[in-house]
């Protein structure tokens, strides 16, 4: 039989979803990431763009029929004459953004991460990165942030983009960081890809007095047994896992590394070289080609040889389903992280 890899065979029996009781079983594409009891910040990207636009005439926004789902719509409402609806045409979205940048503007272009990475790659590469134009590509649904299935799960976007010269890659943790990073990437002329959480985005870093700096990894928490190096919302998870593991007597540090490229090798190597800690990278991305492999290779090149483990998504097309279920299933929930670390620390 052709296509015999089918996930749901004729002998399929439905499983009872564990999360059914708390109403989180939806596989809806646009659900915001669950704040898990934290405060939230509404549309941090769109509102930051409005702030920027107040003082900078060069800021323009574009979207490929996903303004509402990338928080670009709040900018479009505030500055209708500075927003371009490009329609369901990602290659055009990127080409037109390149053309606007050539004429002196700083375009922010939004779509879903899968469409930028997979469909528009050649256009980002040749029209923007090779030309070193100040286009900011900001994309929702990074990694496993939708249960919609592989068509919308950008599990390999960072792997795709890391090979592109000139491109800065940002994977922010929360609403605080998205707001700060939007200002930071607007302040540089570099072509940039930023992953985006949209809607009501958790406020995680507020209590740490955190300040985003391009290209800098920051220690959010010290610890003597494990060093988590994480990016994106996985830093929210590693912070929670560190708290949980404390109860088991495992003392975990968290190094948050939102700039994937250029990587803050100095800080990573310095932290990893502190003796006696297991280094665990954690990313909302395939274990192939993302933060984990970038850190591993950087440490090898620096001659920092330490015990090393990776937490990330498997090299597979992932299932559709509810996010809490999938995060458990693929090992990126807090409980899955703590379980893995406990196994490694035995």
């Amino acid at each position: 039989m052709i296509g015999a890899h089918s996930r749901r065979s004729s002998k399929y029996t439905p499983r009872k979803a564990q999360a059914q009781t708390d109403g989180l079983t939806t596989s809806a594409m646009i659900a915001s990431l669950d704040a898990e009891g934290r405060d939230t910040i509404t549309a941090p990207f769109g509102n930051a763009l409005i702030e920027l636009a107040k003082t900078r005439d060069d800021i323009v926004g574009l979207s490929a029929d996903l303004a509402k789902y990338t928080d670009m719509h709040v900018f479009a409402n505030a500055y209708p004459d500075r927003f371009y609806q490009m329609g369901m045409a990602e290659q055009l979205l990127i080409s037109a953004a390149a053309g606007l940048a050539r004429e002196g503007f700083t375009p922010f272009a939004t779509t879903y991460a899968v469409f930028a990475a997979r469909r528009a790659y050649d256009f980002i590469c040749m029209a923007i990165a090779e030309e070193n134009l100040p286009v900011k590509i900001v994309c929702a649904l990074p990694g496993l942030t939708t249960g919609y299935g592989p068509s919308h799960q950008a599990t390999e976007d960072i792997a795709i983009f890391r090979g592109m010269p000139n491109l800065t890659i940002i994977d922010p943790c929360d609403g605080v960081e998205i707001e700060q990073a939007t200002h930071a990437i607007a302040a540089t002329p570099d072509p940039t890809y930023m992953r985006l959480l949209r809607g009501k985005v958790p406020n995680v870093l507020g209590e740490y007095g955190y300040k985003f700096e391009l290209g800098k990894a920051k220690v959010l928490r010290g610890g003597n047994d494990v060093l988590f190096i994480s990016s994106g919302f996985m830093t929210m998870r590693t912070l929670d896992a560190a708290t949980a593991l404390q109860k088991d007597g495992i003392d975990c540090a968290v190094l948050h590394c939102p700039t994937i490229k250029p990587l803050d090798i100095e800080t990573i190597a310095t932290e990893a070289a502190k003796t006696g800690r297991l280094v665990v990278t954690a990313e909302n991305h395939s274990v192939v080609g993302g933060l984990g492999e970038a850190v591993g290779a950087a440490l090898m090149r620096r001659g920092v040889f330490v015990p090393f483990r990776q937490i990330g998504l498997p090299d597979e097309f992932l299932d559709a389903g509810a996010l809490p279920t999938l995060h458990d299933q693929y090992g990126i929930s807090v409980s899955a992280i703590t379980a893995q670390v406990k196994t490694w620390m035995k």
Partner: protein
């Protein structure tokens, strides 16, 4: 006629002579490397002569002057032809002809913006130029800059879906400052364009999307001049397309009659023969 005379160069020269010079510059560059997309260069020379010496506004001594008309070369492999025109326009010095395609040259085989004064975009990955031109035309309108964006593309690029995304978008955004030139020579890498992915009646397709379309003999200078004038002066809000039917290798009969392919093979001794022939047809 709005172009400024190129600094330190000949003035009051016929468009036929400009096209002849572009052909000659192209052949000289082809001779340097012993290869090049000479078929396309000879075919498009008349259109480039009209672009740079009739239609476009620019300052040869300041290729990035804000008021210039932008010329996007979507088809990077036509770079040899555009270099020939930029040299004729005084934007590049003719002393650089012998560096074509060499290490450290400002004139690489495929056109790239970061290498060459007057090269507005990096083409070569076909199907990108028109979309970039759309963005530039939107940007010029934002700045209330009255300049035009010209985009030179090929019939082969009509096979790229991204071209049609841009075609629709230019109408959506009423880009009356965008003029695209489609070089229809019916040749792409594997053979005839119409045998590969035939778009049918090209002009009617563009017109159906809402463009102001003209189809002309791209090797008949009077017709090309009239089409560029009509495109610039058209009163409607539509973007403008000029479909130019051109003949590969135009102007060198022994190459014109050769079995035409995308990459025309020219033997080592034939470059000089082609230049010799050209000399016999030198316009006043």
């Amino acid at each position: 006629m709005t172009q400024l005379p190129a600094q330190g160069r000949r003035d009051n020269v016929s468009l036929r002579r400009r096209a002849w010079d572009i052909r000659r510059n192209s052949l000289l560059m082809g001779e340097v490397q012993g290869q090049g997309y000479i078929g396309q260069a000879l075919g498009i020379a008349d259109v480039l002569a009209v672009s740079y010496f009739h239609a476009m506004t620019y300052r040869a001594e300041d290729p990035e002057w804000e008021g210039r008309d932008r010329f996007c070369l979507s088809i990077g492999h036509y770079a040899i032809a555009l270099y020939a025109a930029l040299i004729e326009a005084g934007i590049l010095p003719d002393s650089e002809i012998e560096t074509y395609g060499m290490d450290d040259s400002r004139m690489p085989m495929s056109g790239m913006a970061s290498y060459t004064p007057g090269m507005e975009i990096t083409g070569g990955s076909l199907g990108q130029g028109l979309g970039i031109a759309v963005g530039m035309a939107m940007g010029l309108k934002r700045k209330s800059n009255p300049a035009f964006v010209y985009n030179l593309m090929s019939d082969g690029e009509l096979g790229e879906g991204s071209t049609w995304e841009a075609v629709m978008s230019a109408v959506q955004h009423k880009l009356d400052n965008l003029i695209t030139i489609v070089d229809f020579n019916d040749q792409q890498a594997d053979g005839k364009t119409t045998d590969a992915l035939c778009v049918g009646d090209i002009g009617s397709k563009w017109a159906a999307f809402g463009w102001f379309v003209q189809t002309v003999d791209g090797n008949y200078i009077d017709a090309v001049v009239a089409a560029f004038d009509a495109a610039r002066n058209h009163a409607g809000p539509q973007p403008r397309a000029i479909i130019c039917n051109t003949k590969m290798c135009k102007g060198v009969p022994f190459l014109e009659t050769r079995e035409i392919t995308h990459f025309v093979r020219v033997e080592a001794d034939e470059w000089a023969a082609a230049l010799d022939h050209l000399e016999t047809e030198k316009p006043a």
